[in-house]
C-alpha cells in the first residue's frame, strides 16, 4: 500500500475576482511521478503556487506529508513548506539572474544547516549537470535557456525535496534540450524522488509519468495511468495533436 505524499481535496482558488481552480482533488504517492497536464490558462501554475503557499485557497484542503509530519499547505508559510520538503522549480525557471551559479545553488540550500550533507547534494547535482560546476562563478543570467533550466532543477534539488514540483520544464527549450531534461527527471525518479510534473507538452509528460491528471478550466476532467491517458481519444485529440 503506497503512502500518500500529497493529498488535495476540493481546492478552490481565486486570483482577484477570477475563480481559477474550481474544486480540484488529486494525490501523489510516495516514489511516483504524477503529471498534471492541460492547456495554457487551465490553472496548472495556480495549483503549484497554492501548494507552495504563495497563493491561499478560498476553500478545500491540501495536506503534505512533510519531514516532521502532516503539513497543512493552505496555512503554512512558504518557508515552512520548503523546510518540510515540498520544493518547487517554478515556471519560466526564475533563477537569480544577478547571482552566480554557485550562489543560486546555495540559495536552494538556504534552510539547510548540515554543511556536509549540503556538500553531498551539491556533488550529486554537479554529477547530474556538470556544466553547473564548470560555470559555478558565472552570473545566472548569462547561462543559456537550457543551462538555466538545469540550474533551476539543481537549485530545487539542493533543498532536498521529498516532493519535487516541476512547472513546465520543457518551456522554451530546444527539442534536444527537452530530451536531456526529461532524461534527468526520469533519473531523479529512479533515485527515489517523488515528483509532480506540470506540463503543456502532454506527450512527453504522459510518456514518463506513472499517473496523470488532465486539468481543464480549473477542473480535473480525467485521470489515470500514463498509458491509459495516452490511449484516451479525447486526450489524443486535444493534447497529443492526433487526428482521429
Amino acid at each position: 500500500m503506497a503512502v500518500q505524499m500529497l493529498e488535495v481535496h476540493d481546492l478552490h482558488v481565486f486570483r482577484g475576482a477570477t475563480h481559477v481552480l474550481k474544486g480540484i482533488s488529486l494525490d501523489v504517492r510516495e516514489g511516483e511521478m504524477a503529471a498534471l497536464i492541460g492547456a495554457n490558462g487551465a490553472g496548472k501554475s495556480t495549483t503549484l503556487q497554492t501548494l507552495s503557499g504563495l497563493l491561499r485557497p478560498r476553500s478545500g484542503t491540501a495536506v503534505f506529508r512533510g519531514t516532521s509530519g502532516p503539513v497543512d499547505l493552505t496555512r503554512a508559510a512558504p518557508e515552512r513548506i520548503v523546510g518540510e520538503g515540498l520544493v518547487q522549480s517554478p515556471e519560466g525557471r526564475q533563477i537569480f539572474q544577478s547571482l552566480s551559479v554557485a550562489e543560486n545553488l546555495a540559495m536552494g540550500a538556504y534552510l539547510r544547516t548540515d554543511r556536509n550533507e549540503v556538500r553531498r547534494t551539491l556533488e550529486r547535482v554537479h554529477d547530474l549537470f556538470p556544466i553547473l560546476k564548470e560555470r559555478a562563478s558565472a552570473a545566472g543570467g548569462t547561462l543559456s535557456g537550457g543551462e538555466q533550466m538545469m540550474l533551476a532543477i539543481g537549485r530545487a534539488l539542493l533543498a532536498q525535496p521529498r516532493l519535487l514540483l516541476l512547472d513546465e520544464p520543457s518551456l522554451g527549450l530546444a527539442p534536444q534540450m527537452i530530451e536531456r531534461i526529461f532524461d534527468v527527471i526520469a533519473t531523479l525518479k529512479q533515485q527515489g524522488t517523488t515528483i509532480l510534473l506540470v506540463e503543456q507538452n502532454a506527450a512527453m509528460a504522459l510518456d514518463i509519468a506513472d499517473r496523470a491528471y488532465v486539468l481543464e478550466n480549473g477542473v480535473i476532467t480525467l485521470s489515470g495511468t500514463g498509458p491509459e491517458l495516452a490511449g484516451n481519444d479525447r486526450v489524443r485529440r486535444a493534447y497529443l495533436g492526433m487526428a482521429q
Binding site: 512558504p78 518557508e79 537569480f96 539572474q97 550562489e103 546555495a106 540559495m107
Partner: protein, 296 residues
C-alpha cells in the same frame, strides 16, 4: 598639486562620502522592494539629533557611533514593518506617496519636539585641526568622514556579498517570488535591507552634523534628494552604482564651485543638474549599470 586643488578634492570626497552613505541605503531599499523612499533622508536627521543628544550626555564617540547605527536600524525597521509592509503588493505610486507622508510626519514630529531652531553641532575640538600631508593639508573632520565611510562601506560589502544573509538579500532583490520558493523568509531579508540602509543613513547624519556645524529637523530633505540623484546617476538598485554616483555628485558639486569663476559659484546646481541631464541622455539606466531588466 596645489593646496587649493587638493582641498577641493578632499572637500568633494567628504561630501561625496555623505551622499554615498545615504545613496547606498536608498538603492538597497529600491532594489529589494522597488520603493523610492523619500523618507530615507530623514534618517540622516534622526542620526544627527541622536548624536547631539548623546554628546550632551557625555557619551564617548565610538559608543555614539554604535548607538546611532542602532537607532537608525531600529527606525528603518519600524517604518518598514508598520507602514511599508502592509502596502506591499499595492501599486508603486501608493508606496511612493506613503514614503512622502512618512517623511513629512518625521520632519514635523521633529519640529514639534525639537523646534525649528537650528542647533550647533560640533565635533570635539581636536577634530577641527588640520593634518599636514607633504606640502598640502586637510581637515581632520573631512579625513574622518572619508575614512569612516570607507570602513562602513567595506563592512556593508562584506555583509552583502560574503554572508548567507547578504546573498539572501540579493536573491530577494533579484526575484522575490523565487526567493520565497527557496524558503527565504523575504519579510526578514527586506527588514534587514531597511535596517542596514537606515543605519548607514543615520551614520551619515552623525558625520553631516560634524561637517556643517548646524542641524535642524528639516535637514534630511537635501541628503534624501541628493541620494536619489546619486542613485539615478549610478543606476538605481545597484549598490556600487549608488556609491560611485554619490562620490561623483559630491565631487562635481564641489569642483564646479571651486574651479569656476566666483560669479558662478552661487549657481552650482545649474551645472550639477545639467550634468545629470547629460548623463541621463547618454546612459538612461545609469553610468555604472551594464544592463537593466525591468521586473514585471
Amino acid at each position: 598639486m596645489s593646496q587649493y586643488v587638493f582641498q577641493q578634492i578632499i572637500n568633494g570626497l567628504a561630501l561625496g562620502s555623505l551622499y554615498a552613505l545615504v545613496a547606498i541605503g536608498f538603492s538597497m531599499i529600491y532594489g529589494i522592494v522597488r520603493l523610492i523612499n523619500f523618507a530615507h533622508g530623514d534618517l540622516v536627521m534622526i542620526g544627527a539629533f541622536t548624536t547631539l543628544a548623546l554628546v550632551g550626555y557625555g557619551v564617548p564617540w565610538p559608543l555614539i557611533l554604535m548607538f546611532v547605527l542602532l537607532v537608525g536600524a531600529l527606525a528603518g525597521m519600524t517604518i518598514e514593518a508598520t507602514v511599508f509592509r502592509p502596502m506591499r503588493g499595492a501599486q508603486q505610486v501608493t508606496g511612493f506617496i506613503a514614503t512622502l507622508a512618512v517623511s513629512i510626519v518625521i520632519q514635523n514630529t521633529g519640529l514639534m519636539i525639537l523646534s525649528g531652531q537650528p542647533r550647533n553641532f560640533l565635533f570635539p575640538a581636536f577634530m577641527r585641526q588640520r593634518v599636514q600631508i607633504g606640502t598640502v593639508s586637510a581637515s581632520l573632520t573631512d579625513l574622518t568622514i572619508i575614512g569612516l565611510t570607507v570602513v562602513l562601506i567595506a563592512l556593508l560589502l562584506v555583509i552583502v556579498y560574503r554572508t548567507r544573509l547578504g546573498t539572501a538579500m540579493r536573491a530577494t532583490a533579484d526575484n522575490l517570488a523565487a526567493a520565497r520558493l527557496m524558503g527565504i523568509a523575504v519579510n526578514r531579508t527586506i527588514l534587514t535591507a531597511f535596517a542596514i540602509g537606515s543605519a548607514l543613513a543615520a551614520a551619515a547624519g552623525l558625520l553631516w552634523g560634524g561637517k556643517f556645524g548646524q542641524i535642524d529637523p528639516l535637514l534630511g530633505f537635501a541628503p534624501g534628494l541628493k541620494a536619489f540623484i546619486a542613485c539615478v546617476i549610478g543606476g538605481v538598485g545597484s549598490i556600487g552604482g549608488a556609491m560611485l554616483g554619490g562620490y561623483l555628485l559630491g565631487l562635481a558639486e564641489v569642483l564646479f564651485v571651486g574651479l569656476l569663476p566666483p560669479q558662478f559659484a552661487g549657481y552650482r546646481d545649474v551645472f550639477v543638474f545639467t550634468l545629470l541631464i547629460v548623463i541621463l541622455l547618454l546612459k538612461p539606466s545609469g553610468l555604472f549599470v551594464r544592463h537593466v531588466e525591468e521586473r514585471a
